[in-house]
Symmetry: C2
Subunit: 350 residues, 2 copies
Amino acid sequence: MVVRRRDVAELAGVSPAVVSYVLNGGPRGVAPETKERVLAAVQQLNYRPNGIARSLRINRTMTLGLVIPDASNPFFAELARALEEAAFAAGYTVLVGNATDNEERQTAYVRTFLQRQVDGVLLVPAHGPVACLPELQASKKPWVVLDRRVDLDDVAQVLVDNRGGAAEGTRHLLAHGRRRIACVAGPRDVMPSQDRTAGCRAALAEAGVRLPASLVRHVPFGRRAGYLAAMDLFGATRRRPDALFVASDEQAVGALRAFAELGVACPDDVAVVSFDGIADAAYSFPPLTTMTQPFGRLGQEGVGHLLARMADQAAEPEVSVLPVSLAVRETCGCENPPAHTSADANGQER
Amino acid sequence: MVVRRRDVAELAGVSPAVVSYVLNGGPRGVAPETKERVLAAVQQLNYRPNGIARSLRINRTMTLGLVIPDASNPFFAELARALEEAAFAAGYTVLVGNATDNEERQTAYVRTFLQRQVDGVLLVPAHGPVACLPELQASKKPWVVLDRRVDLDDVAQVLVDNRGGAAEGTRHLLAHGRRRIACVAGPRDVMPSQDRTAGCRAALAEAGVRLPASLVRHVPFGRRAGYLAAMDLFGATRRRPDALFVASDEQAVGALRAFAELGVACPDDVAVVSFDGIADAAYSFPPLTTMTQPFGRLGQEGVGHLLARMADQAAEPEVSVLPVSLAVRETCGCENPPAHTSADANGQER
DNA sequence: TTGTATGCGTTATCAT
DNA sequence: ATGATAACGCATACAA
C-alpha cells in the first residue's frame, strides 16, 4: 500500500541510500544517469518520504510550537498570523495551541509540543504565574517569550514598549486639552497591562494631572469587558471624564459601543486612545486612534530569536523591545484625521 | 544529555519493554512493585518519551493538519479556533497552514502535512480551483472539506446552508418593506459566495423584486473591499438602494464605515443584513443583523467526520449541511432589537 | 511476570 | 560513484 524508499531503490536498481542522495541533493553526489532512473522511479511509484522517520533520524522536525493565551482575542490572532508567516518563510510549520486563558491547558500544550519534538517553542504566556517555565528550561529546546514579559534571565523575549507607548498615547490625549482622563486597564496580573497603566500614570503625573482610583477599571481583555467598564465609568450621573485611555483595541471597541448606547459623543464628549493596532481598529465607529504594534516585526524577531538559538545553543538569549507608533484616526479628536483609505494603507489590513 | 527509555530501564533494573508497559498502561500488565521502581526512575531522570519515535512505530501522530484560506479573515480565524477546540477535546493537536489566498501555498501546506504524517487533514479550500485535491485523494489519509463545497463524490464535507440562509436574510429585508435592495457579494469563484448570491436572488424573485446587475458587486472578502463596494453603490448621486444584503460580516463592517462617511443612516436610510456571525458583528455601529453560523458545531462535525473515517476507513464520507440562524440586531431596523447584552449572550463571544 | 529481538523508514558512515 | 549496514527511540510479538 504505502511505498517506501526501498521500493524506489529496488525499482531503480540502486541502493536505498542513493535514493536519499538524489532526493536531498546530498551529502554525496550521484551519477546523472542513475539520478534519472531514481527520479523516474519516484515519479512512477509516487513516492513521498516519511517525514516522521526522517525527523527521527536527523533529530529535527522543522516544526515550531506556538502557544497563545486566547485565540478569540484578535490581537493574539494577528500575532499568531505574523508568527506563522515568519515561520513559513523560514521553512517551518507551526503547531498551535490555544490556552483559552487556562494555565493547565497552556502547560498541557507546552508538554505535548516538547514531546512531539518541536524544534522550538513560541510562548505568549497566559495571565498569572507561568507554570510551564521550568518544564521549558529543562527541555533544553530553544524557546522565546512574546508580548508578555517574564522576569527571568537567560530567556529570549520579544516585547513592545508598552510603557512608552501608553505614555505617548496619554500625552496625545493631554495635548488635546483633556484633563479628566479615565483609564480602562487590563487585568492586573499580566505584564503589558501593568506597563501600560504605568505609562498612562506617568504621562499624567508628568502633566500634573491626577488619576483618581475611581477613574480606573482593571478588567479582562475582550470587547464585553470594555463595554461594561465604560458603561460603569460613563453611565453614572456624576461628572463624566472627557478622555479615556484604553489598554487594548478590543476593550475600546466595547467602550465605543457603550458610548453609542449612552449617547456619549466621541471624540467630542470623550476622546479615546487605545493600544494594539488590530485591523479592526480602522473600522470601528469612529475609527480608533491607537498605539499600533509592529506585528510583522514581532513575528520576524520571534522566530528569528528562535532560529538564532537553534543555530548556536550558546548564543546569548536576546530580548527585543520594539517601538509602537501612534496611528491617528478619529477617536482622539484631531483636526484632520487622515482619510480612511490612508489609515488602511498604514499596515492595518493586508 | 537526552534521556532515553533504556536509561530508565537500566536505572529501574528492568528491560526497556517494561518501561513502555507501565507508561502506556499496556498492552501487558506489570507487577505493582516493578511499576513503582519504573515510575520512580522516570521521575528521577525526568524521562519524556520521544513522540516522534513513538509515532514512527505506531504509525499515528495524533496530529491534524488544518489549511485555511486567509488567517486575517476573522471568519476563518473563528472557524480555526472552533476546530482547534474540537481537536483538543479529542486529544489531537493541530498543525495550521495559512494559504493567504494563494493556491500554491495551499498545496505546499497540504503536501508538508501529508509528509509529516498527520492523521487527517481539515481543508477550507481557497478560492479558485483546488489543485491539491488529487494529492489528498492519493494520500489515502482521511480528509474533510469545510465551508467551501467541492464538487466531488466520496469526500466528507461540513457546510452551512448558504443559500437558505441568504434567502432568509433577504426575506427579512423584504419584510421590512424594503424593495430597492442591493447586494455586496463575495468573489465569483467560491462556493459560499455563489450560493449566498443565489439565495438572495431567489428570495427577491419570489417576492417579485428585481435585482439589477447595477446593484450587485462581486468583491473579495475583507473590510476594505466591502467599504469600496458600498462607496461605489451609495456614493453616486443616483437613487440609493434602501437595503443591502452583504455576503460576509467583514464586508458589512466596511460598508458601515462607508455609510458613516457618506452620511447614510443605517438602518433608516438603508437596512443591512449580512452573513457569518463573527464576534465583531455584535460590536459594529450599528450592531449587525446577520445570519449566524454555528461555529461550535462546524468544529465538532469537522473533526468528527475525520475521526469517523480514521476509525473506519470504509465508512461513507458524510456531508453535513448545518443551518444558520438570523441574529437580529440593529442594522435591519427591527422595532425592538434585543438589548446589547443579550446579543452577547447569543453565543457571540466566549 | 519479565527479558529479547525485530521492525518502523530514514540518514549517514563505512567499505568497496 | 555506489552498496551494505548501523543507528535514531520506541512498541510489541515471542520466548523464557
